[in-house]
């Protein structure tokens, strides 16, 4: 109620978003994407993880938490990932993100799949295998170099 959407530009064709992993990263991406007219689902296998979410946005119904193991196709389906425009796998483990992202891409046929990977070798491999990847380590490195 107090939060009328994060200061991000509207991204076209992004009406339904699913985010796998509700750590600090997942929670913060989810919060930034919330706005009226868009449904954001966030999935985690631990109830406590949802403490990272701002309560008012969850109460508004703009951000919907789902208790789910993102490495399971059946759990992803229960959370409606097959009907979303984009799935972002951002758990704390590279193998978990890789498995979740590949299920979303190859089995659930989600159009846009983004996978957080911290290991640069795996990034190169999985970019070749059709995943869009983002890496904390590289983003932080670039920011650090920029500031220097």
């Amino acid at each position: 109620m107090t939060n009328n959407g994060a200061p991000l530009p509207m991204i076209r064709g992004l009406n339904r978003v699913s985010i796998g992993g509700c750590g600090r990263t997942g929670a913060s991406i989810a919060t930034a994407l919330c706005r009226p007219g868009r449904t954001v689902h966030i999935l985690d296998s631990s109830v406590d993880a949802f403490d990272h979410l701002p309560r008012d946005i969850v109460r508004n119904g703009l951000l919907v938490p789902f208790l789910a193991d993102i490495t399971l196709e059946s759990d992803l389906r229960k959370a409606g990932v097959q009907d979303t425009d984009v799935f972002i796998a951002t758990a704390g483990s590279d193998p978990v993100n890789i498995m979740a992202a590949q299920i979303a891409l190859h089995i659930l046929d989600v159009n846009r799949v983004v996978c957080r990977l911290d290991d640069p070798v795996k990034r190169d491999l999985y970019e070749d295998l059709d995943l869009t990847t983002i890496s904390h380590t590289e983003i932080l490195r670039d920011l650090a170099l920029e500031r220097l």
């Binding site: 490495t71 483990s93 193998p95 498995m99 590949q102 089995i107 290991d119 295998l129």
Partner: protein, 142 residues
């Protein structure tokens, strides 16, 4: 034949023993210090200690000249990544993986990087086979 076995649990250790008995060259990878020590105690210097989802650990184990890799870990997500690294990065010809959760079999097969072994299905089949005779006509389904 040169085989890399990931995981020095009961399954991995038994496979390692069998291949050594058949006079094949093997390396076992496990990140747990106790399991690593147990393998070296029993089978000699055939182990690498580390996380096989890291490419440098596979490299250290000689993945680039391996004919076969067998992933026997408990976690399907890790087994999948290990198989994909072995097949795509190191060109290992045959990659086999244990799959603990049956619904993951389709993903392994779809990605085409491994021959997956569905341990749950194998156990259930074995039990059904043994108990099948007890059932008359009160259980439906297939």
């Amino acid at each position: 034949m040169y085989a890399i076995i990931v995981g020095a649990g009961r399954v991995g250790t038994a496979i390692a023993r069998w291949l050594l008995d058949a006079e094949q060259e093997i390396t076992v990878i496990d990140r747990d210090p106790e399991r690593f020590a147990a393998i070296e105690d029993e089978l000699g210097s055939v182990a690498v200690r580390g996380d096989a989802t890291e490419s440098q650990v596979l490299w250290q184990a000689g993945a680039s000249r391996a004919d076969v890799l067998i992933a026997t870990g408990r976690r399907d997500d890790e087994n999948l990544v290990i198989c994909q690294l072995a097949a795509n990065l190191f060109g290992v010809g045959r990659v086999l993986s244990i799959v603990s959760i049956s619904e993951h079999v389709e993903l392994f097969n779809r990605l085409g990087v491994s021959e997956s072994i569905d341990t749950t299905a194998i156990m259930v089949d074995a039990i059904e086979e043994r108990l099948g005779g007890l059932l008359v006509d009160d259980v439906g389904g297939s």
